[in-house]
Symmetry: C2
Subunit: 581 residues, 2 copies
């Protein structure tokens, strides 16, 4: 019980209160704004008044928290009237704004009082704070606009985390340290993979040649695997009339669409999804039962609004290229098609060494039926089909109530990377609603019209996010088949350059990505640079190598093998590339 | 002299007057609006009043034109005052609008009077209309909004053409007839290559699986050829802050940008060009003289506004994917880099059998210097570099005065297709201006900053337009390497299906795109369908073929070869694909 997500949320949210209390005691005149639990921890926002707080102040604040903690034996809640609330919080403009808002929405106004600290609050808390909150750590500070809007004041956000046990906390801190080393934004810059240009805009990364080489290699491989499984690739533009999204319901139900633009007298939007485009392709000609399952795929860039403060390198972007597909099936084909998708998914995970994963089956929120389109029977059938598939494949799985898309339930795969962090990757959504909206029919054996069902599938999710995850998973040391430069040849002196050039040409003819580093620097410096660039293999060429028609092969790990012939090296490389190791 | 473009323009514009005269005589109450010469002919717009004119009326109008023509011995011009002009044209609201406008702009008001017909006019005319205008033909009718705006009245547009000789007219009419058969919009639908969806919007084509297979095949091939020549591929998003285009000058000088949209508090636009994005990539790290020439390439979709009435299938679109590249060079590298570009271009033309082409070298319009950025010296150097390159390669070429982009002169290649029509394809623009705008520098041998020059190059132009041209060039019968389905296997009876499936698997393993047509239809019907679909090869399989372990190979031309073994067929196909025939 202690590890379930409700408990963790309560624990961390409680700890955010403790942080607020400590800061308000240490810095008179500071005001706390909001302090929610988030994935892996919590934060608390402060208007620091005349004070400035930075990461070097965190130990002092932690010490104050530990000093206060023993006195926090329990949280007391009181419902208060609008007038009482306004009186209690009259010095805190952020709480005052929330009080007005809560009251306006008809919400109850609750205060809690742990120890001698009063706060306006609407979330759950732990029962014995003095005991349960002791395994905490403050992590970092950042600027954050009040309510996420650049129009408001910039507040100081302090991040922290709290775990039920010291062991869990220690593991997390170690993982964070490792994660910082592997930060894809840091590695992305060092390895020249991508860039974020303020002139282009936040959330719109640009891929440098090396980054795009990796992304394209992923894309070509996945495309081939899909084609081998009967997927057909299409291309659709990045905009459409907003009417198309009114027909699909995205306009009404999906909140991350960009604002529209006017072309002629029509309203157009950047596409947030490809489904309506692919439905146009499906409906371009009459379809027969013989055509199904029809698997339409596209590696397509879609545009989704994320707040400027929430975009993050490649992991959270405004322009994302999905490995998207829409599979049109007859109802009795759903199970076997989901089997095909799971087969492909597991093959792909294996390629990257992802062994620890579980399926989340996202269903409706029964308390919030307005969020969804379609009838109850279809939803029940769809939810059951997904649960059955997970059971059939013995996938570890759990139910995510209320996580479904507005048009149907889905399976999402949660995958742990090399340092134990969990990422949501593959998504497979089952949809009986859009076939109604777009009249997606086929002629059955009796010559009658029947509605198809649609599976929305993205195996990697988006190439951008997946690439970001891979950078961190591999710590930038990509396996040979993905490495943008697979081999660097290093002629020791100028007289070895010609031999190196010929060697490079021979490797290049086999499609191996090879560079020649004949910079005017000592050999050791060039080895160091290429190792830092995480090039899998270096080929060192000196007098001995030239006279014996071979090279010395040095792996980026430092292991060196002397006297390797061209043909041996070539076949070794090609075999590794072929097997993706 | 008689064939030069000024003469042709005068001839056709004069013929448009003749058309106007005939229509106004035949249909009392009709008004003529404008009647310019266009590529390959002319048109004249009419407000037909209570009349309706369609293509079946064209012979009658032609007859009237021939009846009038002998009396048109010469054009008389008179300059008239504003008041006189308004009196002369008081019944024609379109001319009245033009009179107001010309007067407002301070232009002279001229009337011309051939025979007994008065018209407001500002263009050149032929000297002896009665003799020179006789080789004309009316071609078609269409609706067209007055001044191209949907807010105005829909007029009737009559298209026609006129040539200096009967032979040229006959050739053109024959070519047009052939072009109609090859119309890429018609073939695009029949062969399931692409679609135009009113729900997505005009000018935004969607590619069906077969069309995208061709486009992708082109793209992968061209990408490989460029990589072999040292180009490095990148990816950039489809939007950017409008400030980026203010820096590049597109905002001020380029008139086909879409209207902006608001994200956060910034103004963003769909990118009409990739240059500013690629400059961000160039500027991401310090560049050394050793890095140049640096060839950045992207197969990138850009968005350009075209009027809804002017979009045309794949040939004129609002979303176009360019085979774009920006080559950053030192000034002394310009010539050799242009040589490389011409070599690549000619190799590509040869692949498609384009043998008849000429280079247009576009220079400044000396009368309109405001259109351009940069200083005179740079422009002179750049224009001379391009002219020298054309001479060095002995390319047939001519100068297009005033056709330059705002940042530099360019070479465009004009290419004739299989039925003799001329298309503008490759463009290579030399640019000394953007390096100033974006401070595109490199460190030279002495450790000092120098400005690079930029070559903007697209070999095919855009994949969309080039694909549209290829559809018409090949009349839909794509060469084997491009054909979306390369082979269809046709088992004569159900008992031959298993053998056909095995045969198909073997071909597919070699990467050959093969389909099995085991529809419940007679063999002859299936051969007919696949021939209409222009599948290069059909493999017919009956009892004889199964027992002899072979197939009968039928080419779409009808030529059939019996008793072909799998291995012979396979190697024949692979060789043709490899050599792109």
């Amino acid at each position: 019980m202690k590890n379930d997500s409700d408990y963790l949320n309560n624990l961390r949210h409680s700890c955010a209160h403790l942080l607020a209390k400590a800061v308000l005691e240490l810095y008179p005149g500071a005001h706390n704004a909001i302090g929610p639990s988030i994935e892996h921890g919590f934060y608390q926002d402060f208007d620091m008044g005349s004070h400035v707080v930075s990461e070097s102040d965190l130990p002092k604040i932690e010490a104050k928290m530990r000093e206060i903690l023993p006195s926090w034996t329990m949280f007391q809640f009181n419902e208060v009237s609008f007038a009482q609330a306004k009186k209690l919080f009259k010095h805190n403009p952020y709480k005052m704004e929330l009080i007005e808002e809560f009251a306006g929405e008809g919400k109850k106004l609750l205060t809690n009082n742990p120890g001698d600290f009063l706060d306006l609050c609407k979330m759950g808390h732990v029962e014995n704070p003095s005991q349960e909150l002791s395994r905490f750590k403050l992590l970092s500070t950042a600027g954050a606009y009040w309510r996420g809007s650049e129009k408001n004041k910039m507040l100081t956000r302090i991040y922290g985390t709290c775990f039920p046990s010291q062991k869990e906390l220690d593991t997390y801190i170690l993982q964070q340290k490792e994660a910082r080393k592997r930060d894809h934004r840091k590695l992305g810059k060092e390895l020249e993979l991508f860039l974020l240009s303020p002139s282009v805009g936040p959330g719109f990364p640009l891929y440098m040649p090396k980054g795009f080489m990796i992304r394209r290699t992923l894309e070509h491989w996945l495309t081939k695997e899909k084609e081998n499984r009967g997927y057909q690739f299409v291309w659709t533009p990045h905009v459409a009339k907003s009417d198309l999204y009114k027909q699909s319901g995205h306009w009404q139900k999906y909140d991350a669409m960009f604002s529209p633009m006017k072309i002629d007298d029509d309203e157009y939007v950047l596409k947030p999804m490809n489904c309506p485009h692919h439905f146009q392709i499906y409906n371009e000609k009459p379809r027969s039962y013989r055509d199904l399952p029809l698997r339409i795929a596209e590696n397509a860039t879609v545009y989704r609004f994320e707040k400027a403060g929430e975009v993050n390198g490649l992991l959270r972007v405004r322009a994302l290229t999905q490995d998207d597909s829409h599979i049109f099936v007859r109802h009795f084909q759903i199970s076997s098609e989901i089997d095909n998708i799971i087969e492909l998914t597991l093959m792909i995970y294996k390629t990257f060494g992802f062994k620890d994963f579980k399926a989340r089956i996202s269903t409706r929120d029964p308390k919030n039926q307005d969020k969804y389109m379609g009838n109850t029977k279809s939803w029940d059938d769809a939810e059951n089909a997904l649960i059955d598939a997970a059971k059939r494949h013995k996938l570890p799985h759990f139910i995510g109530i209320g996580e479904a898309a507005f048009y149907g339930p889905k399976i999402d795969m949660m995958v742990r990377d090399a340092i134990g962090r969990e990422w949501q990757l593959t998504t497979c959504q089952l949809d009986f609603v859009q076939p109604e909206n777009f009249d997606l029919c086929y002629i059955n054996e009796e010559g009658k019209n029947e509605k198809a069902a649609v599976l929305h599938v993205a195996i990697l999710g988006s190439f951008d996010r997946f690439f970001g995850i891979l950078i961190e998973h591999y710590g930038g040391a990509f396996p040979l088949w993905l490495a943008p430069v697979q081999v660097t040849l290093i002629p020791i002196a100028e007289r070895h350059t010609e031999y190196a050039q010929k060697f490079a040409r021979d490797l290049r003819e086999q499609g191996i990505r090879v560079e020649l580093d004949s910079k005017n620097e000592p050999m050791q410096a060039r080895i160091r640079n290429n190792t830092l660039q995480k090039v899998p293999y270096m080929g060192i060429i000196g007098d001995k190598e030239v006279s014996a028609s071979c090279i010395s092969v040095r792996h980026r790990s430092g292991v060196e093998t002397k006297g390797v012939t061209l043909s041996a090296f070539k076949s070794q490389l090609l075999e590794k590339i072929e097997h993706k190791v």
